[in-house]
Subunit: 206 residues, 2 copies
């Protein structure tokens, strides 16, 4: 490694950190105040990064939003939103997974995606990207539910009930946008856990 390369590395790290800070701040702003209110000025004020630096990384609002979309779905940034397959000791696995999935779709992650989802309606390319990421995420959540519940998805009703968990979660996430719907969501999660109990599990005792 030459001296020049050595000197460049920390600078690249700093640039990457700044970029991530901008994207994280934009994501939170989208969830909190929506697409139109999320301007460079707001992101600058919230992040402490100068408007010039933001514009250097993302010359247009479109570039910034595409950046956020990629950022949200990058593996290393989804830990906050990811649902662990490890059910905590002493917790009912049906209640655990029902609550986790319902809460996931009420996160800032979903709310930011929802803002993009509605704003993207006229933009075919952005729509397609959103759909692709959304589908990938839905498959990951579906698979996680299957593993936690040891579900036999060759059983059609079992497959459908798990799929319904995702659609239901999106509906509840939407209800949480204009008000704090967490109390109702918690009681729905309890109810839904009991519905999920009727699925077919693999290797069940006959």
């Amino acid at each position: 490694m030459t001296l020049t390369e050595n000197a460049r590395a920390p600078q690249q790290d700093r640039s990457r950190e700044t970029r991530d800070l901008i994207l994280e701040t934009t994501l939170r702003a989208l969830a909190r105040i929506g697409w139109n209110a999320t301007t460079t000025s707001v992101v600058a004020a919230d992040s402490g990064v100068s408007r010039g630096a933001i514009q250097h990384h993302f010359p247009t609002k479109e570039a910034l939003m595409r950046g956020v979309l990629e950022y949200m779905y990058e593996g290393r940034n989804t830990s906050e939103f990811s649902i662990s397959a490890e059910v905590p000791e002493g917790v009912d696995r049906f209640e655990y997974i029902s609550e986790q999935v319902l809460d996931y779709y009420a996160s800032d992650h979903f709310k930011a995606a929802l803002q993009m989802w509605t704003a993207a309606i006229g933009d075919a390319e952005f729509s397609e990207q959103l759909q692709m990421h959304g589908d990938k995420l839905a498959r990951a959540v579906y698979d996680r539910v299957v593993v936690v519940l040891n579900a036999d998805t060759s059983d059609s009703r079992t497959h459908r009930l798990i799929q319904t968990t995702l659609d239901l979660s999106r509906g509840l996430g939407l209800a949480d946008v204009l008000r704090d719907d967490s109390k109702r969501r918690q009681s729905v999660a309890q109810f839904w856990a009991d519905e999920l109990r009727s699925i077919k599990q693999l290797n069940e005792p006959q």
Copy 2:
């Protein structure tokens, strides 16, 4: 009635008709191209009403959107979206109501409301109006399901399943925004009809 009053009446009718045409056109545009793209120019082009006349009825975009919100939830304009309590001859009532509710939330009415829902996030007063109308509509849909299914809502699971029908419908409505999700929705409606069959009905034979 004086001559002047006589002459004024048809003019008021025309003004009302123009107002309704503007609002109906705006609603369709919101559902199709979203909040930001729905401009006075677009509404003028789609409706054939001049920009001047639109601005006379609705001086600001805010006024236009509040107008659409009220228009959507006025009794006389909801016939297209209303769900009849009359189950067509020979049609299973569970399949009927499941399909009707799921399709309702994939209508232009829901899509336009969704655009407002996400755009209203920073506007406390508009948010409150949206919530009030949304709650009123949800209660009306809930009541319609109860009547069609002759449901005993004193049974907690029955109440919950019907409530879940609404949240599920919102989630499916969202999925229909960026693509035509009607085929999947139809198969979910079939599945959900079978789930609803397990509710408690009033005056069931013991």
